[in-house]
Amino acid sequence: MNLKLKALTKSLWVFHLCIGGSCNNCDIEILDLLTPRYDVERFGIMLIGSIRHADVLLITGSLSRKAAPRAKRLYEQMPKPGVVVAVGSCALGRGIFKDSYNTPCPLDELIPVDLYIPGCPPKPEAIIAGIVKLIKKVRGV
């Protein structure tokens, strides 16, 4: 087990990236996680403004042509080790926009994805369940 990766699960700092081709709902549900009903900040999970400080790259939306190079660059800028989380049907497999001319490829063909959270949009409870699974897996419990 990578010690650095294990330590990083204590307090996940999340950089939230919408890579285009999303309807915004996943993004709202992610923000919803920070508001009083769910309040994941209690557990040290925090949204931050720069990828260079992030442990987690949280991605929503089906990759659009214009945004694809930027997504790749952001992944390269992320400090390693780090995890990539894809939230919502669009990020998983382009969802309903699969046949569009502007969504060239699914996300995991561009960058490696560690955790997939399906749903359109996934409920906040589902996102929390996904993160818990990820933390357990990394810690090896």
Binding site: H16, L17, C18, I19, G20, G21, S22, C23, N24, N25, C26, D27, I28, E29, L31, D32, T35, P36, R37, L47, G49, S50, T60, G61, S62, S64, R65, K66, A67, R70, G95, I96, F97, D99, S100, Y101, N102, T103, C120, P121, K123
Partner: protein
């Protein structure tokens, strides 16, 4: 010597349907020019729509936008019913109206929270989103999902509202009313909010007409337009309510319009629940003839416009979609220029695009192209201004 600095805001910013990337040119504190680049979220929905059959398109247009995820299907089914001249059962019209107004409540609360966050009132953000949750619960109870309700259908609605749900919905609205009172008081009586929002980001009436803006953005500039009143659809002509119009055109007026609209929405839902007749909810449409149809609805952000042409097959030949922000965002070009940098975040947010842009602002020096400021700094700048004002006015923070 003037030193122009370029500030890109964006780039991929999941505004509802039209993502955007603002390039702000500043001289010292003042914004002198603004360049808007969109297209990062372009998904080719108009083209995709041509490859789906008429019923599937309802689900596709629902996914244009997560916040107004009933406005687009509503406009689309209106266009189809205009095309095929379909009579929709009355109960379905009422159910559509209830869903659309619930959506307006949740959307306005969402905006209010984010606007509060941008000017440094994080408490407002938390409160507004807390009161938004019960509305989402109601959506889940009635439709089965918190967002993307899939209620619209050509010729009717997909699900009925059960009798036992009505009392729960009424109770939720009753509980919401004191919260709206609280927000109204918090915005109208707070001297700091007044100092922050009054006279900022003004869009004059003439500018609003020239840029053809819609929705609360237009109504805050003294233009009395509201599709619900002008071209009634659903059950809006069967209930009584008012169009909220303010004259000032600044951000304060836009905030007031949205808060007062919450009252109207609550009242519309209550009346609909009382007046809703029993009966069918679906007209069972079989074929769509050839022809063309236009449907528009008042989404929370303004007029949402759909044009559909059919050639008698089971797919549209052309489906044109114009979302409200398409007109409103363009008007930022006049609203933000001339203001200060610390007001930019709230001015750009005042037309109710989305938060994610402002979470990823980057300030660049034009000459060295070096990053000197990131997005959160711009929000921080805005929040610091509020703190300063609080001290000047003498409020305890």
């Amino acid at each position: 010597m003037s030193h122009k600095v370029l500030i890109p805001i964006g780039p991929y910013h999941p505004l509802q349907d039209e993502p955007e990337f603002f390039r702000l040119y500043v001289e010292g504190e003042r914004v002198v020019d603004i360049d808007i680049v969109i297209g990062y979220l372009h998904r080719g929905i108009e083209k995709l729509s041509e490859s789906k059959h008429f019923d599937q398109v309802t689900f596709l247009v629902e996914r244009i936008c997560g916040i107004c995820s009933t406005s687009h299907p509503f406009a689309y089914v209106n266009a189809m019913e205009d095309l095929a001249k379909i009579e929709v059962p009355e109960r379905a019209l009422f159910i559509r109206t209830i869903i659309a107004e619930m959506e307006r409540i949740h959307s306005h609360l969402l905006w209010l929270g984010l606007a509060g966050h941008f000017i440094g009132y994080n408490t407002v953000w938390m409160w507004a989103w807390r009161y938004r949750e019960p509305i989402l619960d109601m959506f889940e109870m009635i439709t089965g999902n918190r967002n993307h309700y899939a209620m619209m259908k050509i010729g009717g609605v997909r699900r009925d509202i059960k009798d036992e749900d009505i009392s729960i919905l009424k109770k939720t609205l009753d509980d919401l009313l004191p919260a709206v009172d609280m927000f109204k008081g918090a915005v109208m009586d707070d001297p700091v909010i007044k100092a922050r929002l009054k006279g900022i980001g003004i869009l004059t009436k003439q500018q609003a007409i020239d840029w053809a803006v819609v929705g609360p953005t237009a109504r805050a500039s003294g233009i009395n337009i509201d599709v619900r009143k002008d071209d009634p659809y659903g059950a809006y002509d069967k209930v009584s309510w008012n169009v909220i119009v303010e004259e000032d055109g600044d951000i304060f007026a836009k905030t007031i319009v949205r808060i007062l609209e919450l009252y109207e929405s609550i009242s519309i839902i209550r009346q609909c629940l009382d007046k809703m007749p029993k009966g069918e909810i679906d007209a069972n449409v079989k074929d769509i003839p050839s022809g063309e149809g236009i449907g528009h609805v008042e989404a929370p952000r303004g007029e949402c416009f759909h044009y559909v042409r059919s050639d008698g097959t089971n797919r549209p030949v052309r489906h044109k979609i114009r979302a409200p922000s398409y007109m409103n965002v363009a008007s930022n070009k006049v609203a933000a220029v001339g203001g200060t940098l610390s007001d930019a975040a709230i001015t750009l947010a005042a037309v109710d695009p989305c938060y994610c842009c402002t979470e990823r602002l980057i300030v660049l020096d034009k000459h060295s192209d070096k990053k000197i400021m990131n997005g959160w700094d711009l929000i921080k700048l805005s929040q610091e201004k509020t703190e300063k004002l609080k001290k000047i006015i003498g409020c305890k923070s």
